[in-house]
């Protein structure tokens, strides 16, 4: 295992440019994620983390470059096709269906995985997220931020993804909740799902991810293991304000 790379690359992002209107946000971004591994995509606010995640999920359309999942090119495809190809996306601002109950939110997310597997059932989700089981009939809009974050992750899991994109799951939450989410992500990682975790906070990622990439002003400036990143003060000081 060298430089956080795996021979078995499941998700590969090559040289993508993304524009919002006339302004260019991503400049030739490259990423590789190994099967079953967890990649932390780090960077300051506005560095391009969320845009990268949106591009992978198909919500932002790359103007050039390719995104492939297990060799299948998905760049520019509709979000639902990408989702059915096995990429589960958890957006940064949670976006629960506020007028629906918790259980309805989960039902909307339900679909078989790429190989037809239905590993994640309501029971398993309620097992993993006991708090959701208690609140299953409550309107999602009435839940706290942390509970909504749990719900969005659970909702995406109901679609049995191969790769889970988590966009700043700890943002704006109380420390104790952040901890709970951290341990949840570790649990998920142990089930074998591949995770891409966009974060500002490197320390949050330390115990969770193996690999790391750093993005700044739309350019990837670092790609290796998280341990290597921790050791590289030049990078962390310059790009992560630590």
């Amino acid at each position: 295992m060298t430089g956080g790379r795996s021979d078995d690359v499941i998700l590969k992002v090559e040289d993508i440019d993304v524009f919002y209107g006339a302004s260019k946000i991503l400049f030739g971004v490259d990423l590789e994620v190994g099967r079953g591994r967890t990649l932390a995509l780090l960077g300051r606010n506005g560095a391009g983390k969320s845009t990268t995640m949106k591009a992978i999920a198909g919500i932002a359309k790359p103007r050039k470059g390719s995104i492939s999942l297990s060799g299948q090119n998905l760049a520019g495809a509709r979000p639902d096709i990408i989702a059915r190809a096995g990429i589960g996306y958890v957006p940064e601002d949670r976006q629960v269906f506020a007028m629906h109950s918790v259980e309805d939110n989960l039902l909307i997310g339900t679909k078989p995985g790429l190989r037809g597997q239905r590993d994640w059932t309501l029971e398993r989700v309620y097992d993993t997220f006991p708090i959701l089981a208690r609140m299953k009939d409550r309107k999602a809009g009435l839940m706290s931020g942390g509970e909504q974050q749990m719900l969005t992750i659970a909702r995406t899991l109901m679609g049995n993804p191969e790769v889970l994109l988590l966009d700043e799951p700890s943002e704006g939450l109380a420390p104790i909740i952040v901890q709970a989410i951290g341990s949840l992500i570790r649990t998920l990682r142990d089930t074998g799902v591949t995770i891409v975790l966009a974060e500002q906070n490197m320390h949050f990622c330390l115990g969770i991810s193996e690999d790391a990439a750093v993005i700044d002003k739309g350019h990837i400036v670092y790609r290796d293991t998280i341990a290597g990143l921790r050791a590289n003060e030049a990078i962390t000081k310059r790009y992560l304000a630590i």
């Binding site: 999920a57 198909g58 919500i59 509709r78 979000p79 639902d80 990408i82 989702a83 059915r84 996306y89 957006p91 976006q95 269906f97 506020a98 007028m99 629906h100 309805d104 039902l107 909307i108 997310g109 679909k111 909702r155 995406t156 679609g159």
Partner: protein, 302 residues
């Protein structure tokens, strides 16, 4: 302008009450079917389907042809509904989906164009002459007498079907996965799409369902109303009034408003016959002034 004596005389006899109440219900239920389609489509897709009356017309004509061919009215009604639904899906996919999110003006114009085209097509296919289906044999029965009033069996059937469809629509939207997805997509389509759901298909199906409701109304009206190109216009204006009074997006609201309008018409025809239309517009104006979201509407105020 007001004939209170006639109104009082009517209110004091059970026969008149029964007659006017059933008459109000019948008028109201057909309006409700059309309006519930308008309100459903607006609630989810945020477009006003100004062409909804065309699907009412198409449903009536399909039902007419199916009845002429098969002689089975129930089958004909089904053909009317499904035919209008399919036309609705095509209209959504090919035309209206291109102006989603655009300003009202664009939506208005494509619908205006669609109305012109469909009216002319109907004229080419079925002719400009009015057609009449006639009462199907099953319903050629003398009217029931209830408390001195008259209630034709066909109208009982019509009201029953409308109520069932209304309840079914509410259940479809609130209880089924389809309805839950569609409602979620109405508020946040990209998120629903990111969960692997083909939102476009759901939108098209919903649009088709809304049009099928208009088609059913057309098919139910076909035995008693004469079929002409352009017949959708009148019911369109009235169903908009119902939609606005009930609250855009609310099916129960449309139901309530349709009954209010139906009764206004039937009671008005006794008490203030010349002012019936005026009264409908007046109710709509009052609702818009004092409760712009309608009787049961939620959503953005004003």
């Amino acid at each position: 302008m007001f004939d209170f004596d006639a109104l009082a005389a009517c209110m004091s006899t059970s026969a008149c009450l029964v007659n006017q109440a059933t008459s109000g219900l019948i008028i109201g239920m057909l309006l409700f079917l059309v309006a519930s389609g308008v309100t459903l489509i607006f609630g989810v897709l945020h477009v006003i389907n100004f062409a909804h009356g065309s699907f009412y017309m198409v449903g009536a004509y399909f039902a007419y042809t199916a009845y002429v061919v098969t002689g089975n009215y129930f089958l004909a009604a089904l053909v009317g509904a499904v035919g209008a639904g399919i036309c609705g899906i095509l209209f959504e996919r090919l035309i209206i989906s291109r102006v989603y999110g655009q300003n009202l003006l664009m939506q208005l114009l494509v619908c205006y164009a669609f109305i012109l085209i469909v009216d002319d097509l109907v004229k080419i296919i079925w002719g400009a002459e009015y057609l009449a289906m006639g009462i199907p044999a099953e319903f050629r029965l003398p009217p029931f007498r209830i408390a001195g009033g008259y209630v034709p069996p066909f109208y009982l059937f019509l009201v029953a079907v409308a109520v069932c469809i209304g309840v079914g629509s509410v259940l479809l939207v609130t209880k089924t996965r389809f309805g839950k997805i569609v409602r979620a997509a109405a508020l946040n389509a990209p998120m629903v799409s990111a969960l692997g759901i083909r939102v476009n298909i759901y939108f098209a199906l919903l649009f088709g369902y809304g049009c099928a409701l208009a088609g059913v109304a057309g098919a139910l009206a076909a035995p008693v109303r004469s079929l002409t190109p352009g017949m959708g216009l009148g019911i369109l204006v009235e169903s908009f009034i119902v939609t606005v009074i009930g609250g855009m997006g609310s099916i129960p609201g449309a139901f309530l408003a349709a009954i209010i309008l139906g009764l206004t018409r039937s009671i008005g025809s006794v008490g203030f016959p010349l002012f019936v239309d005026g009264a409908m517009f007046m109710i709509m104006a009052l609702v818009l002034i004092f409760r712009p979201t309608g009787l049961m509407g939620q959503g953005e105020p004003r």
